[in-house]
Symmetry: D2
Subunit: 344 residues, 4 copies
């Protein structure tokens, strides 16, 4: 059994990791960490976990000491030091935050306002989106788990970009995320009477996921590109829908597009390309590791419209992290991840 | 007092009209009509209206016979005959459906699958978006009240199009509508467990509001244009948010854009251009006739992002219809429309 | 025009008062007060109010100085001093908090942990539930506006208690309130992902509204009684539903009960006793000053079940406060309160 | 592997059964049946199940022919014939409907308006609430799976009734159920704009679960009793909360009550008695087979208030049915039922 430790276990991604690891046949929780709640039981903070995980919340040091692999669910800027400690002790490290996602330190500096503190770790680290970078992930010790929005978007555009079906410039991405995406911290915008029966975009063309999105799409397209990315807060608990608009290259047909997507994802268990006539809906991926993608062509404007949806807490965070763990430990990628979506 | 009759009073737009007319100081309900519920009281169908409007639902003929003006809230294809009957009796007619919105019969035929049955009425009729076509509305007897999505979009783009601030082609419109927009009819997609905690686009690049949107924008831009329009079903009762993406023309600055919008709407009571730094949110217009517009420029891609929000039932339907009635009867445009948004 | 000042205008009850006063034909806002936001415009805090109320938030002193009547929407313990200041300046005072609701200082001390600081004001003050205490309200200068739960419950049981139709002891009250009832302050329980798709009772048999409920029911019944009162947090923005269980006295029939309620409320504009076969639903009173009451008898257990629903922000707070103001100023009670419920 | 067939697989309970059986290590889906959708794939009806269960929907006969055990999720009145067919073929049968829940045919007749058609099956059948009737379930071939409300209520009151801690008469049960409880069928009351931001009781003191509730509680109490039962429709997808009010017998203390519950459920994996100071919330049991129970005593009125919450689709339907299947096949009761609640 793989011994799994979680730093920041009381955040939403952390508690979702707990839920998934508890059902994983080859892994067991070795320690759950929290700065704010050290000494309390996890089930005191989340009564949902009573009898399921009554472990005491411990310090980061203890988490690392007890684990074969550590997942960090903490704010950006904090993970590098934890990664270094893990590295020293031969403990694998998966960061669910932003510290190991960007290849260019300049991007990190521009969007997060911080410098890299451990350059050698950044050279070791890999941006761990399994469907795209599986081969690079194997054998690594430090992984940057992708952001929620970028996961939905990279998977949604990969076949089109890779196969040069669309114009690389001028892509518009209109994303909508459930409120767990904003985390456990109380904010005015996530106060129930403010957020319920309401809707608005936020961080318009200024969200920190932008360089991460562009990094992957540029890599796929083979050229540097920029996107317009606008996230919105959706009054649901879970789920992301990204509606993506790209201009079809001349002569490209809907059949060609669909064929390219079906080929690209033919062996991917967690990506479901919807048949023609169906539309991806976040309802259908809830509580699962699936990414559902539907393809639509507007012949009037030669636009490819991709709808890509994931559960932001699973494929967009904890599920994908476990998928990465499985790769690191040589397990079938779907081990412990066969959760059937909840339907309602 | 203006005698107001409503055909299709038991639909959502109809009942919202009732709510507004009941508070209108210069108008009174003369008759409410319904095919399905004739003989019942309106408050039997909507217990919310008990003591407020216990009028009996009557036939279309009776509605017309008792009224100075008739609002029709019926499916497309039915209004032309009602309009003709009103015309004959010198009763003004405002259609909240689609029959009098499109200037080109070819468009109506293509998108609605029907022919015009009363060509002379279509020549008389005007597309009645007051902020844009106020002068054409005055003195008319038949009006086509704009659709909900098109209202949010036309107001959201008018100053930019009119002032040639953005490229006319390649505009992307990602709209999200509350569920009342789907009407009172039971459908699988609006069944609570299907619609709640869910989100998806529908009628992707194929919604019937598309030609109406293009008609107005083309008129504003002074050239024929096409847009990509994708509506989504938002799990809230009321409200539309349209996030609109247009490419800025070379050299156009955010200040210039903001200035153009502020000038364009300086005297418009029902359009609030948000100050820099604020984002339009449907929460702030609920139950009111306001359209809130916020402007955002992405300097990385030279994109203008406009967020335009209305209450789909008020400015997107019943409120705008009453605004049009006020114009037809020479009243101040905001008479009976000073509803303060509900905040929550 | 009555000059109306509001202390605590940025709380939910305060902003609802603003909405109502803005539509009141005989009153005008003279000042809006806030401790936390002094110097800001109210519409900075609530962008919904842009162009509707851009008044600057001022100190309590200024509110009192500019007003004929002051509404206080502040935490218990703070109102007595404000009331005293108003009293001195001949300004009428309506407290939307708890300071002037309880007749017995001992109750206040037991449930709120504070002493009365201005006994003479408490003698002057009246518990201002218009439908029950209208005559006592007239001519007063200090009013205690009832709590939201107690309003729904007192109106729901008054005819039964007054006419001795039910046993006075053993009444069970199971109430459910929308989240605005918890106010504007951020709390874990009202964080969207915690509160959405969730449900629980809180302050079980320990809510501070209990003595207020018992005070009114005891007064109506003519004897001291105790109730079991359990409130629940309902995942909606607005509205309270109280389901009330009382044991019918021997021989009392459903017809008798219905007759008593219809008689009791025959002249009450804001109470709608539903006809047999209908059930009160908070949907039907939203954004209005109505209290809807439905009556149900379980012949198997001789239990009267009363369902009583109000909009917690209107009849449960701001609307009732304006109703009381109308009484104090000799206006028809429904002046400015003819809001038709929103239906959806 | 146990071969599991489901009749009525496209209903909400059916599809939840599919989800659970797909994760069950000792059972496999052998056939899914549907009358309305025969010939379609289950994943055509529920796209959430694509790649998870693409089985074709077949006739009832085929379901029975292929299975070791059949679950029926159909309207009352239809199951008896299916049970008979199963019985003949030595196929075990668990009815998730109401046909095998009531011991007295007279009750069935009174509340469901039908006669028993297969008396010998009713004699064989057992009311299968495992925590209470585990021993009677073993070895049976026909089970009546309890209703959702009755499960929450029986578990919530069993220790109190069994230990004579409360008065048997005068129990008041105020239950609230998520909308999946109303099923997949479109109705006006479950249309999103009607049901969202709304709340009301329904079938007040007239719900068909009443005799089932009374049957179990009478059995536990050792005397015939009647309850007041009022269900409400709660605007959430999943979950039931029952708030139960019972009068404590003289001298019974809160400690005594808590002790009795803890003892009664000491070995029950799926019942979590909350520690003092915590309140059961449906959030904490979502998507799991848990029943959370919290206990509260009102010393002012000597009332025991029990809050009992389950996921109506799991412990209230499909999960409990699988728990029963495990008993019938001699498996540990929690096999395939270790779903950790989702927390959000």
């Amino acid at each position: 059994m793989i011994k799994v430790g979680i730093i920041g276990a009381t955040g939403y991604a952390g508690v979702e990791l707990v839920r998934i690891i508890l059902g994983h046949p080859q892994a067991e929780l070795s320690a759950v960490g929290s700065v704010s709640f050290t000494g309390k039981k996890l089930s005191d903070v989340y009564p949902s976990l009573a009898d399921c995980c009554d472990m005491e919340l411990v310090s980061t040091e203890e988490v690392i000491a007890r684990s074969d692999i550590v997942f960090a669910c903490v704010q950006h800027g904090l993970s590098q030091e934890f990664a270094a400690q893990c590295h020293e002790k031969n403990v694998k490290f998966i960061d669910l935050g932003a510290d190991f996602r960007l290849e260019e330190e300049a991007d990190y500096k521009e969007w997060y306002g911080l410098d890299y503190t451990h350059h050698e770790l950044h050279e070791e680290a890999v941006y761990a989106l399994p469907e795209l970078y599986r081969d690079k992930i194997k054998g690594k010790t430090v992984l940057g788990n992708p952001g929620c929005y970028p996961t939905s978007i990279a998977l949604g555009l990969a076949p089109a970009m890779k196969n040069h079906l669309v114009r690389t410039q001028g892509v518009v991405i209109d994303s909508k995320s459930g409120v767990t995406g904003s985390g456990r911290k109380l904010t005015e915008g996530t106060h129930y009477p403010v957020c319920n029966e309401a809707f608005e975009p936020y961080k318009i063309a200024a969200h920190r996921h932008t360089p991460e999105i562009e990094q992957t799409l540029s890599d796929l397209a083979g050229e540097k590109l920029k996107v317009v990315f606008v996230p919105h807060l959706l009054p649901v608990n879970r789920g992301i829908v990204s509606t993506i608009y790209a201009h079809l290259n001349p002569g490209v047909t809907e059949e060609q597009v669909r064929g390219a997507y079906e080929t690209f994802y033919a062996d991917e268990k967690f990506v479901r390309v919807k048949p023609a006539g169906q539309t991806a809906n976040l309802r259908n991926v809830k509580c699962s590791n699936y990414c559902d993608i539907s393809l639509h062509v507007d012949p009037r404007t030669d636009t490819l419209i991709v709808v890509s949806t994931i559960d932001n807490m699973v494929k967009g965070a904890a599920g994908q992290a476990v998928q990465n763990m499985n790769i690191l430990f040589g397990l079938p990628e779907d081990t412990g991840l066969n959760m059937v979506p909840t339907s309602f």
